[in-house]
């Protein structure tokens, strides 16, 4: 049997990505299909809590007419009593048609997909992969720019620990992007991803400054949170903490098509006054997550 699990989309071809984008667009036009998954059971196993991602997946399943089972708190499940992941997955496989799982350990979703015939959708495995987030990011770029090719993408903030920027970077490799990595020294893009860019022939520049001038030719401004606990040197944190904050008065010279993305939740890295700008797109981006997840659930179930 062909395994339809969606553990990673990093190796998807242009055609596979485009098909998912088209489907996501269809679900945006009409999110409600109450009979599409009638009689199906979707399991959401959140071994690590993530209310935002779980609500988005469960809403997607509900809008497609599926029944949802699952758990979110690892303390109430038997995995805290020493049951292996394999045994939990085998047990749930007896009940569900598709398993959406989030786990704190890296590689958990891939391993789960190897021990069951029920398709697994990876809703995040530690700091490793999070394909539904990547898919909604790609969709948001595609929708706002009309294409994925030849874009100037600025990634700002914590590029060291930011899983979403790493996944986005890899999934954009087939689209001839130019990346600007804007980060403080301590949180700059890890060498392995810069090496990846050089191997794949992806252009990138690294920048410390973040000003009205420096972002003037951006098509996409992908903001991330700079967290205090990520710094080993707190003096450095105090020095840079206000450098990577986007304010409305920095948008005066930016391109008309430029859109601001953020994986949310934000703290203070985007000032409230940016929310009213036509360039702000992060709330719609989060909403796109619902449509992208509807598309992913259908793909995992093999529904055209």
């Amino acid at each position: 049997m062909m395994n339809r699990s969606i553990v990673s989309i990093a190796d998807y071809s242009r055609e596979q990505i485009e098909r998912l984008l088209e489907r996501t667009a269809e679900f945006e036009r009409e999110p409600n299909h109450p009979h599409l998954l009638e009689g199906r059971v979707v399991a959401t196993l959140f071994f690590e809590p993530s209310t935002r991602t779980r609500l988005s997946f469960e809403t997607a399943a509900n809008r497609l007419g599926a029944r949802v089972i699952g758990f979110t708190d690892p303390k109430v499940t038997s995995s805290s009593k020493g049951e292996t992941l394999k045994d939990t997955i085998k047990m749930v496989s007896n009940y569900a048609d598709v398993i959406i799982m989030r786990h704190r350990l890296e590689g958990a979703a891939l391993y789960a997909s190897e021990v069951t015939d029920v398709p697994i959708i990876n809703a995040g495995d530690g700091s490793n992969l999070h394909p539904s987030q990547t898919m909604l990011d790609l969709y948001s770029i595609w929708k706002t720019q009309g294409r994925l090719d030849d874009l100037n993408i600025f990634m700002v903030g914590d590029l060291k620990y930011g899983r979403t920027v790493h996944s986005l970077l890899m999934s954009m490799r087939r689209y001839n992007p130019t990346f600007h990595f804007v980060a403080p020294k301590e949180l700059e893009m890890p060498e392995e991803y810069k090496l990846y860019c050089r191997k794949e022939g992806i252009r990138y520049v690294e920048e410390r400054v973040f000003t009205e001038e420096s972002i003037a030719d951006a098509d996409i401004l992908y903001m991330t949170r700079v967290q205090r606990e990520r710094f080993t040197d707190l003096m450095e944190y105090e020095r840079v903490k206000d450098t990577y904050i986007l304010r409305a008065d920095m948008l005066g010279r930016c391109r008309e098509n430029m859109r601001i993305l953020h994986p949310l939740p934000r703290v203070n890295e985007i000032e409230q006054d940016v929310d009213d700008s036509p360039h702000a797109y992060y709330f719609q981006q989060a909403q796109n997550g619902l449509y992208a997840r509807e598309a992913l659930i259908c793909q995992a179930l093999g529904i055209e």
Binding site: T84, L85, K86, H103, R104, L105, E106, G107, A108, L110, Y111, D125, G126, S127, N128, E192
Partner: protein, 154 residues
């Protein structure tokens, strides 16, 4: 002349079997455990910290009447890439084999990433060798690349 003879006799010769020579001194016992020599009923000679012109100090393992499979030899590459094995028949070296890195290791080495699923589930590890020259391996599960030099056996 006398001296050389004495040195070459530091470890007794075997009639048939396998000799692994020029082992880095810190790898001798790892190799012995990888080959499960503690469970071997044939005559096993392990020498360590012996004089070696080439590398200063070395280890050597001689196993009588044992000939290792390709799979066993490629496992050795996980701890000691390019180590040489001499196949002995009738006191003569009849063949030399090199433990070169295979394309993948299954269930042999441990992932260095503590939050990798393989370190938290009773499961086999899988590593792909991504760079044979530099000895770089990549964990199938967490995707972390690591150097074979720093890797530990399961």
């Amino acid at each position: 002349m006398m001296d050389t003879t004495k040195k070459s006799l530091q470890v007794a010769a075997i009639e048939n079997g396998t000799v692994i020579d020029h082992i880095p001194t810190d790898k001798v016992f790892t190799i012995a455990s990888l080959l499960q020599l503690d469970r071997c009923n044939d005559q096993v000679t392990i020498g360590n910290n012996l004089d070696s012109g080439r590398m200063g100090s070395k280890g050597i393992i001689k196993i009588a009447n044992r000939f290792f499979s390709d799979a066993e030899i490629s496992r050795l590459a996980a701890v000691c890439p390019n180590i040489r094995l001499c196949i002995i028949r009738d006191y003569e070296v009849v063949e030399k084999r090199i433990a070169s890195l295979p394309d993948e290791f299954v269930g042999i080495v441990r992932c260095a990433n503590p939050v990798c699923i393989t370190n938290n589930e009773p499961m086999k590890t899988v590593f792909y060798v991504t760079d044979k020259e530099q000895g770089v391996v990549k964990c199938r599960y967490c995707g972390k690349e690591q150097n074979i030099e720093h890797i530990k056996l399961v």
